[in-house]
């Protein structure tokens, strides 16, 4: 095969190409699997029993049904260190990558005791001494210890976070594809933004855009809100049915998922007329905050550096997170809201970074970007012009 293309841009599409030029998903999964198995060895974990959407996807690479919200813990994927095999809760093999054999699947059960009995059949799980999980509840804690394994149930996070924290080249390409999808959704929303449209309608435009691109699952439905130009300004997550007024500032903040990888960006636009000079000043403050945060995202920095960069802009403490990890969905660290001062930033991590500034009587402005921490500094993956 030819070396990697000099024009990286050819990779940023979703259709398979006959020369296999795009993401090599076999390699992507193999690299992830190797990192997980190495992490298990480092942390003395014999097996993993995972229920988190991102974790299950990371170890299995399976396309599973997307569902909104937090579900209670259930063992969706199992990795056994000794055999190196991944086992998956799936009654069928469609959507399951070829390295997970049919005999590695276990079936959906409504009776949790029956599910536990299926787990007990997984080779190597019963004998495991330490089993890492990414959550638990009293019911599964009891069922697992009574019917599956006597192993000590420990936290899978040291192994999983070590694997997921920095991204491989293929993972970065997936994040860039997701970025391009989010940009497309932002363009569609910006086109649709005229006085009289409602936030709900803009959310509909967003959904149509990402689904048309082949990615109908929203990382979040919190993708737009108008900011009142009088009275208190709040960051709002839920779309309202009020018509957006001429001259109002509107936050457009779409995200997208490609092969499970999440990217997002935000810009703030004015509905209808041209931006007032006061709004332009606000946009400049927002951009300054963003530039300061992005510049602070360097290998070796900590969360405290992001807090400091923000404070140095003269802005008040932010009521939204300054940054959090991205990959297969949202990931630690969370920096902001009082958390994450000691979080360390390493080369190869990907972050969602956001700048939110407000001005009574004018409104508010949000910028959000997805960036990779590169060896020579931050590399912003999302692109969109500023106002």
């Amino acid at each position: 095969m030819s070396p990697a293309p000099r024009d990286h841009g050819v990779l940023i599409g979703t259709m398979g190409l006959e020369d296999d030029a795009r993401v090599d998903f076999t390699r992507l999964r193999a690299e992830r699997r190797a990192k997980v198995l190495a992490g298990m060895q480092t942390h003395g974990i014999d097996a993993l029993m995972l229920g988190g959407v991102g974790n299950a996807r990371y170890v299995s690479g399976a396309r599973q049904l997307g569902r909104a919200g937090v579900l209670p813990f259930a063992p969706v994927a199992v990795v056994v260190g000794k055999t190196g095999r991944t086992h998956l809760l799936s009654t069928w093999d469609e959507g399951v990558p070829p390295e997970i054999g049919r005999d590695d699947l276990y079936a959906l059960k409504w009776n949790p005791a029956n599910l536990a009995d299926e787990l007990a059949e997984i080779p190597g799980l019963r004998e495991a001494q330490r089993v890492g999980t990414d959550g638990l509840n009293p019911m599964f804690a009891e069922l697992i210890s009574q019917r599956v394994t006597r192993a000590e149930l420990t936290d899978a996070a040291p192994a999983m976070e070590a694997a997921r924290r920095t991204k491989t080249a293929d993972e970065i390409t997936c994040l860039e594809v997701a970025s391009a999808m989010a940009e497309a959704a932002l363009a569609a929303m910006e086109d649709a933004l005229t006085p009289g449209i409602t936030e709900r309608e803009l959310l509909g435009v967003y959904y149509e855009a990402v689904a048309s691109l082949g990615a109908p699952i929203a990382p979040s439905e919190s993708v737009c809100f108008a900011v009142p130009s009088d009275g208190p300004v709040r960051f709002r997550h839920l779309a309202s049915e009020r018509a957006i007024r001429d001259g109002e500032l509107v936050v457009l903040a779409p995200g997208a998922l490609y092969a499970g990888y999440q990217a997002g960006l935000a810009r703030t636009r004015v509905a209808g007329r041209v931006m007032s000079s006061a709004a332009m000043d606000l946009a400049s403050r927002c951009a300054r905050g963003m530039d300061a945060l992005v510049a602070a995202c360097r290998a070796g920095s900590t969360g405290a550096d992001l807090y400091r960069a923000w404070e140095n802009t003269g802005e008040q403490a932010s009521v939204v997170p300054l940054a959090h990890g991205l990959g297969l969905g949202a990931e630690p660290p969370l920096i902001g809201l009082g958390r994450g001062r000691t979080a360390r930033l390493d080369e190869g991590m990907v972050l969602c970074v956001q700048s939110w500034v407000t001005q009574d009587g004018v409104g508010a402005c949000l910028e959000r970007a997805t960036l990779r921490i590169g060896g020579a500094g931050p590399e912003v993956l999302t692109r969109y012009r500023r106002p």
Partner: protein, 387 residues
Amino acid sequence: MRRERFAKLQHQIDAHGIDGLVLMASSSVAYATGAAMPAQDGDQAALFRPVAVVAEGDSAPHLYTLHAGGVPAELPADHVHEPLFPDLDDGIDQFAAALADHFSSGARLGVDDQTHAMLRRLTDFEWIDAGAVMGAAKIVKTPDEVACIRNAQWLNELAMADTLATLRPGVRQTDLSAVFLRRAIELGAYANGIDPIWQVMAPTRDANPWTLHGDLAYPTVTTDRFLREGDVIWVDAGITWEGYASDYGRTWITSTDPEPDPKQQEHFRRWRTVVDAALEILKPGVTALQLGRAAIGANDGVRPWIEHFYLAHGVGTDSAEMPLIGTDLGEQFDERMIMQPGMVVVFEPVIWEDGAAGYRSEDIVAVTDTGWVKLSGSTYQPYGLSR
């Protein structure tokens, strides 16, 4: 509605002899508090999850949330708090302090999901599974809850009418998702619940995905697959309204002239006969086992549902909740599951004849004092009336 739900939770807290509930999963938080939250995918939803705490004897639930705009108006200000981020060790002391505000050391608390940060730090309490408490409260709906489900279903069906109108050869599965999601949100759905399903059913079992049990695979995940002339697709989707889920299930035919052939019409009529046989006997006091037997009897002794599913399930703040009818929970379970006024039952039998695909739809009813009332619509296009 929220007051009645809270009273039921308090009653169950007493009945189960516990001191309170700590709720972490989205549907439980929505039930206990009425909090609205943006629909978010797996790990995004988890990292930014709201938490509900219900203390025995209290007048209202405590809600810890980032989504201030989703807090019900009647919730007292001293019951609304800053978010807790239970997935992180950073700040878990705040969670411990919050619980200390409501419970004394050694309290018995129901919990639906636990992170390892909680397992490490919140060790002062006796944790029991919240499943029984939540299940007992949720299984019977108040008239207001039934009205919410009916409205969610109505919005879902309206959006599907517009989606079906776009179905023709060459449309992709994700194109249907794009139309559906946009319309559902525009019409007033609060959020999408699952990645909409448009599974193409091959005429024979062997030509459908391989399964562990040899029965049909359903539902498989939507892709950008082209839909082609004659493709029979089993549709399934769910949105939420006021926290309550809809459940839309129908069989469609992809064609420029979607007219079911006589065999397909026969399958539809058989499906109708099976549902009608169950509805014929449905009233308070009837057991799930009797309903299952009536359905099997109407299908000439053949179980008219897929091995890993059920004849019927309930719906509420979860898309599938009790009462479950015909699952691997077993006949004794079904015999003890007695229909009561206010239960909501989603019948989704499957008719299958190898070589001719088959038919699947979903009918939703609420059990009344004397029988039942239908909550879902009664059109089954393109099946039903022949031209």
